[in-house]
Subunit: 398 residues, 2 copies
């Protein structure tokens, strides 16, 4: 007996060449996308910094390299039919090398350039006539002061790029906090800031939109997302809002993805204001945490639909298969191994669908897995999901 | 950039050691089991004759070797927490090496020895007081003649080992066909034959039973299997039978798995006779084609429950999530590549869940994938599944 590995996929498959999907990034989003692609008979090639990422573990083939290295990206593209991405932080200039070599990249760099800079993203929404909180770019504290006096305090100061899970945001409550906020986000070193009117929302809504290469799109149910410490804690599907409001949110989300000409699954986050207005917050050009519930709760998941969209295949039904679903994230409480404690007890909770991402390490606030439960109503689903989630612990408090 | 591979999983995962499942065999059953294990955060190591089997493609680690080589089996076992199998033909004596080295194998060889020889399997049922068609071992044509006159013609002559999908079976209609049947199954060279009374059934029923290490078991709904040319063509869940009869079938199946002290998922096939009697036909010590529908139709699939059972974790709910489900197999029509034609059209059928196994080659009658659809009733589910299945073609007629 000897061990062999799929080093050269072109030679290892006599006669047959399966459809090949390339994914830049190897985290849980890439893993769940890969699981969907594998079920459809595709080969999956993952590019990640190491070979033990969640997605690299199950990829047909794994490339180790830097996401932002055009050479690595083109090497990935040359081995697959279509390249997709699992996060929005990959340098669009680097990714352009894929398109420049004639390979397919979805979403493409034209879309990513309209999304990665959140100021440009918001301008794109504005130009498309879509409702967002007021915003403006600010180059110095004087401009920030002016914006605050214009919008009314508080305002939210944000980095234009690379913010996530509350990182890159600072709420400036009054004129006196201006320099504190400016310093917190990199101050004079960082001239890529913008400011938004603070939106006193009653809840945060989110929608997954999947748009195909030919521009057709499907919109999953509008969900409510519940954050804890700026990180998504729970998703309730569908959101308990009047039907007209859900339709408005769905339409807003669909038009947002049309505005950026997106191809694939996109997470669109919105605010529901006290006045019952829906405002676009921001979008992610990828499958999204607010859509993990679709694996069990919808006929076709956001992951399978992403695969279908980027490969040019027909989109699947986004209908829910139960009246309600709740997803709870499993976040690390501190540093430690990526293997959960309490999994057995969680599996003993009837109706809980447990997903463990298989990361090498846990970290405080790091997304390590999630639990989804379906129910006749949200309360029932939430009770099951919470009960299972509470059994599981990643890492130890330091 | 360089490429690295998961050659030595022990060193590639800093700090973390995920639970590891080993599977002997790399076909579609191993693939679907691996998908369930990966979702639960397990690592999967597959032993198969080549490294491009459906399961080897997505395994964390792949060993290339012979299933029946004790050295290969022990090497697999030494890398994982528990070994399971995807088919019933692996030599039990070879597998015993895993247990003899102190590693965990589920189902174990004690179970497999009671199953692999179908004559012993039937004797085990008989001793447990479970209903089966009449049967007896036959060493020569005289004994076959005697059995036929005893049971009444026709009778079914079967090989005791390695039969599947109609291979290793011959229906002897009358005394005059004895020598023809005897020759067809290997004649004088094969002294491992037995004979069964022909069962004029009205339908074939099947049940998946999952039994945990501590002997607790769960039983999935009773389904009807429809064969074409002795190969499973369609599965209808649940079977349209009176409730008492379904309960009888479920009880019979559960007791059959108790009788062999099985651990894991098992497929139990039964005949429903004209008189409304349920008789055990045979069982498979593994996840089973008649349970593929459980991926979408049940809260916890036969694959996830197999993983849970063999790892000693609590079993999940077997409840159906829709009133009806139908699964249709995608069989190759001839030799050709393992990539389907018509997949796009199939994906355009709303509600069809398409599974493509990713085999290297198609062959006539070879299981290349399947389609499952749920519905408010069987007719609705069958229409969707059939419509999608008819779009897909593997291989060409020669």
């Amino acid at each position: 007996m000897h061990e062999t590995y799929d080093n050269e996929i072109k030679s290892s498959r006599p006669a047959t060449r399966h459809t090949r999907l390339g994914i830049v990034g190897g985290g849980q989003l890439a893993k769940m996308t890969a699981l969907a692609a594998l079920q459809l008979g595709c080969d999956v090639v993952v590019l990640e910094k190491n070979n033990y990422s969640p997605a690299a573990q199950l990829a047909t083939h794994s490339l180790v390299g830097d996401w932002n290295d055009p050479e690595a990206l083109v090497k990935l593209a040359s081995q697959v039919d279509v390249v997709s991405i699992e996060n929005e932080f990959i340098n669009a200039d680097a990714l352009a090398a894929i398109e420049n070599c004639g390979h397919l990249l979805y979403p493409g760099t034209a879309t990513l350039r309209r999304v990665q800079d959140k100021f440009i993203q918001k301008q794109t929404f504005l130009e498309a006539g879509l409702s967002t909180p007021k915003f403006t770019a600010v180059r110095d504290v004087q401009e920030l002061s002016r914006a605050g006096n214009d919008f009314g305090w508080p305002v939210v100061l944000k980095t234009r790029r690379n913010g996530y899970d509350g990182k890159g945001n600072f709420t400036v409550r009054s004129e006196s906090e201006i320099s504190q906020g400016w310093e917190a986000l990199g101050g004079p070193k960082n001239n890529e800031l913008y400011v938004e009117a603070f939106c006193p929302y009653v809840s945060e809504l989110a929608v997954i939109v999947v748009r195909s290469r030919d521009g057709a799109s499907v919109v999953y149910p509008v969900v409510e997302t519940v954050q804890r410490n700026h990180i998504c804690h729970m998703v309730k599907a569908p959101a308990v809002v009047p039907r007209e409001l859900a339709e408005e949110a769905a339409s807003l989300a669909r038009r947002a993805i049309d505005a950026i000409a997106g191809v694939g699954s996109f997470g669109v986050e919105m605010f529901l204001t006290r006045e019952g207005q829906v405002l676009l917050n921001e979008l992610a050009p990828r499958v999204h945490n607010s859509g993990h519930y679709t694996i069990e709760a919808c006929v076709c998941s956001q992951f399978e639909n992403h695969v279908r969209a980027v490969l040019g295949w027909p989109l699947g039904s986004v209908a829910m298969r139960a009246p309600a679903a709740v997803m709870v994230n499993l976040l690390g409480v501190g540093k430690g191994p990526g293997t959960p404690r309490g999994l057995e007890r969680a599996l003993g909770v009837a109706g809980a669908h447990v997903h463990i991402y298989g990361k090498a390490m846990s970290g405080a606030g790091r997304k390590m897995g999630h639990v989804t439960a379906l129910g006749q109503n949200l309360a029932e689903a939430e009770a099951i999901a919470q009960k299972a989630a509470e059994c599981i612990l990643f890492g130890a408090k330091s």
